[in-house]
Amino acid sequence: MATLDRHDWYDLARTTNWTPTFVTEDELFPPELSGSMGLSMPAWEVYDEPYKQTYHEYVKVQREKDAGAYSVKAALERSKMFETADPGWLSVMKSHYGAIARAEYSASTAEARMARFGKAPGMRNMATLGMMDEIRHGQIQLFFPHEHCPKDRQFDWAHKAYDTNEWAAIAARHMFDNMMTTRGAVGVALMLTFAFETGFTNMQFLGLAADAAEAGDWTFSNLISSIQTDESRHAQIGAPLVSVLVANGKKAEAQKMVDIGIWRAWKLFSVLTGPIMDYYTPLEHRKQSFKEFMQEWIVTQFERALIDLGLDTPWYWDQFLQEIDSQHHGMHLGVWYWRPTVWWDPAAGVTPEERDWLEEKYPGWNATWGKNWDVITDNLLAGKRELTYPETLPVVCNMCQLPINQTPGPAWKVRDFPLDYKDRTYHFCSEGCKWCFEEEPERYAGHLSLVDRFLAGMIQPMNLEGALKYMSLAPGEIGDDAHAYAWVEKFRAAYTKNTA
C-alpha cells in the first residue's frame, strides 16, 4: 500500500479543527482548563510549531530510541559500574531518579491537559506526542534504577520519593504541581514547556550527560541524552504560543507566567543540579562548573529565545545572575549538613583539591562557604562528628520549600523576606519567591511548609527521630557522607602540624 508523502497531507491534518454546534466553545474548552485568555479560535489557529512529526514517524523514531537506550543498558548490566563508581556518582543517580522519575509521569498529565484543552490544533497534536514522551520518561527512569534496588535501598526512592513528605520531595511536588498539574493548557505551555523545558532541563539532561560520559557511566549518559531528544521536540510547544499571545495583546500575561516558571525552576535546579555538578561529580569528571553550564544554557541561549519571541528578560534577571554564583553552594552545604533528611549520601566535595577548583570557578568561595566548611572539617578531624549533625530545622521558604540561605562568612548576607497576608506571616528566601506568592496569593496561602507543620505539632515526636519518621526515611535509606568521611584525612597532616 503506497503512503502519501508527508508534505502532501501534514499541514491539512494538523490544522484540522471544528466549530462546535451541539455545545458552546466554552463548554468544549472551559476557560480555566484551556487558559486561553479570551482569545478567539482563529487567533489560535495560526499557531505553528517548529518541530513537526507524524504519529507514524513518532512510533518509528521512538522505537529506535528505546531500542538504543535499553540495549546499552543490557550490554552494561554485567559491568561493575555500581561496584566501582565513586560513591558521589551513585548519589548523583539516586538524587536524580528520586526527584525526577515520578515527576516525569506527572508531566504526562500536564501534556494531556494541552492535548485536550489546547485551542490550537497544532498544539494538541504535539502535546499528544509529548504526553507519550513523558510516559516514556517516567517508565524508563523507573526501570533503569530498578536493577540497583537489591543492592541499595536508597534506589527504591526513585519510586518512593514522590509519595513521601521528605523535604526535597515536598519542594519538587510544590514546584511541579504549581507549574504543570494545576494550570490550564496555556499555563502548562508557558511554564512547563517554555520556561522549564526549553532552558533548564538541558542542564540536568545534557550538562549532566557530559559529566556522566566523563565518569564512564554510559548507561546513564545515554539514557538522559535519549530523554532529552524527546524534550527538544515537545519543549517547542510553548514558543509559538508566546508569539500568539504577544500578537494578541497578551504580552504582560505571558511574561508573568514565564517569569514565575523560570524563578520556580531556578530554585529547584539550585538544590538538585548545582550540588550534583559542583560537588558530587568527581573532580576529574567535571566538564564544566554549574555556573558555566548555566551561563551557556540559560543566560546565553534562553535569554536570546525570550527576546526573539518578543518578551523581556524577567524583572529579577540581575538578581538571578548574582544567584547563579552563590545559591547552590548554600543549598549543597545545607543538604550535606542535614544529610540524614535526604535519601542519598551527599558527597562533601571539599577536599583541598576540590576547594582549589571551587575557588578557581567561584573566586571568594574559601572566604564564604569555605569558612563554614573549615569549622565542619576541624570538627571531623578532632573526632567531633556529632557537631556536624543538625539539632534543629532550617527555616524553609514558603514558596520554594528550601532552606533560606545566602552568602556566609565575613560578607554575611543572610536574611529573611517576610510577608504578612491575611492572618499569617510567610517567610521567603528571596524577592523572587515572595513575588511569586504576591502574584497569586490564594493559590499558595493554605500550604504549610515542613517548618509550619512542625510548629503546628504535626511532626511527632518533635525531634530528628520524629522528623525522619514523618519523612518516611528508614534505616538503610537515611543519608550520610558519601565517602564515610575518608576525605577528611586529606587535611590530617596540616591539622596535626597546626595543633601540635
Binding site: 545545607g334 549538613y337 563554614n372 534543629t392 527555616v395 540561605n405 529573611d416 517576610p418 517567610h427
Partner: protein, 86 residues
C-alpha cells in the same frame, strides 16, 4: 513562661534556623540558644566576645537583660545574633 519559636540568623552562618526558646529567657539566653546551633558547628567561636540579639533590619540590639516577652517580637520573626567585641 511559654515556648516561643524564632528564626535565628547567626552572624556569618549561611542559613536561617528554627530556634525554640522561652518567653522568660533573657536576650543573653536567646543568644546562647542561637549559638548552640551555629557556633562550633559552622561558625568559629570568638573568645571574649559577647553575642547580641537584634531584630532583622535594626542596627540597635536589644538590652542583654531584656526578657523575650518584653521585646515585642512575633513568633518566627527573624532575629540577627551578632558578635560584639569586648
Amino acid at each position: 513562661m511559654a515556648l516561643f519559636p524564632l528564626t535565628s540568623n547567626f552572624q556569618e552562618d549561611f542559613v536561617l534556623q528554627l530556634l525554640a526558646v522561652d518567653t522568660d529567657n533573657t536576650m543573653d539566653e536567646v543568644a546562647a540558644a542561637a549559638a548552640y546551633h551555629s557556633v562550633g558547628r559552622r561558625v568559629a567561636a570568638r573568645p571574649g566576645h559577647i553575642m547580641r540579639v537584634r531584630r532583622q533590619g535594626s542596627e540597635k540590639p536589644f538590652p542583654r537583660t531584656m526578657k523575650l516577652n518584653d521585646a515585642g517580637l512575633k513568633p518566627m520573626e527573624c532575629i540577627e545574633v551578632v558578635w560584639e567585641a569586648p
